[in-house]
């Protein structure tokens, strides 16, 4: 069984926002709602990296865990979807999501939250597949058409990959091996340091140069 995932190659992302535009155009998403965003770290300084972020369709999704009305469900392919007819727009899922994926259209002059909207991995929702009702509530159902998410298929540099997690891992591994770098940008070494990096709690000597490939400094512009 395929486990649908996104993977963004930070070595390739050029912050063109083509994925954001493709998503908005494909699903006719209203103003104020961004199912996908491009986040840039260390903007304008050496080591700048960009990464395209949307719902990551978590295996153990916190949004599902906190929803008071249990409007979330997961498809056989591991895609996290929700029923807008049940959603009460409380925003708990937004607080729980580490990626800021849930979006809330403003339904009034005073910013009253509407029903939650988020990336569906272009898989629609619990309405008849490829119907008008599904399109209006959840957007286009490209998976039912045998296509992958528009954001990834539109990505000009193929930085954003979407599809079966195992296949994506193979594609990414081949890239990293071919170019000989880039695997360290996002991953274990960034999060937990390297064996040759100073241990946490041990201050580096005064005037020491930063470690090459070290994690981005806090305070980087996003």
């Amino acid at each position: 069984m395929a486990r649908m995932k996104f993977l963004c190659d930070a070595e390739r992302c050029i912050e063109c926002n083509g994925c954001v535009t493709a998503c908005k155009q494909e699903h006719e998403i209203p103003w104020g709602v961004n199912r996908r965003r491009v986040v840039t770290i260390n903007d304008g300084v050496p080591g700048e990296r960009s990464i395209s972020v949307a719902c990551m369709h978590c295996s153990d999704a916190p949004c599902m865990a906190v929803c008071p009305v249990d409007c979330f469900y997961k498809t056989e392919e591991g895609i996290v979807l929700h029923d807008k007819d049940l959603c009460i727009g409380c925003g708990y899922c937004f607080y729980a999501c580490p990626f800021g994926a849930p979006q809330f259209p403003q339904a009034g002059a005073f910013g009253v939250r509407g029903k939650m909207d988020k990336c569906t991995f272009c898989a629609g929702g619990p309405e008849k597949d490829m119907s008008d009702a599904e399109f209006k509530k959840y957007g286009r159902n490209r998976l039912a058409e045998g296509k992958l998410p528009a954001c990834a298929e539109m990505c000009s540099t193929k930085a954003l990959l979407a599809g079966d997690g195992d296949v994506l891992a193979d594609i990414y591994r081949e890239r990293v091996v071919t170019r000989g770098k880039g695997g360290e940008v996002w991953g274990w070494a960034t999060a937990y340091g390297r064996p040759d990096a100073p241990r946490s709690g041990v201050a580096p000597p005064a005037g020491a140069a930063p470690q090459p490939g070290a994690a981005p400094q806090p305070g980087g512009k996003t």
Binding site: M1, A2, R3, S59, D60, M64, V69, D70, C71, F72, Y73, K74, T75, E76, E77, G78, L81, H82, D83, D85, L86, A123, G124, G125, P126, E127, K128, D129, M130, N141, L143, A144, G146, K147, L148, A152, E153, K158, L161, A162, G163, D164, V167, L168, I171, E174, R175, T178
Partner: protein, 73 residues
């Protein structure tokens, strides 16, 4: 004494081997406590009409379009 040693060795071996066990890493997706409307799987529609294997094959082929090394080599 030998019996006790053998028994301790056997228990130790079982305990050590127990740590080598591997649990499946893939979650079993269940509907859980979902209260909303049921959703039909994507492969239930035309042209697949329930043929999940054909649908997955289509997506797998499409997936490889994202791998430019497959296209250029």
């Amino acid at each position: 004494m030998i019996r006790i040693s053998l028994a301790v060795a056997a228990v130790s071996a079982v305990a050590l081997l127990g740590a080598c066990g591997e649990r499946p890493q893939v979650l079993e997706y269940k509907q859980g406590t979902y209260q909303g409307k049921p959703d039909t799987p994507a492969y239930k529609n035309a042209p697949w009409d329930g043929d999940k294997t054909a649908w997955e094959k289509t997506l797998a082929q499409r997936n490889q379009n994202q791998n430019e090394y497959k296209r250029t080599r």
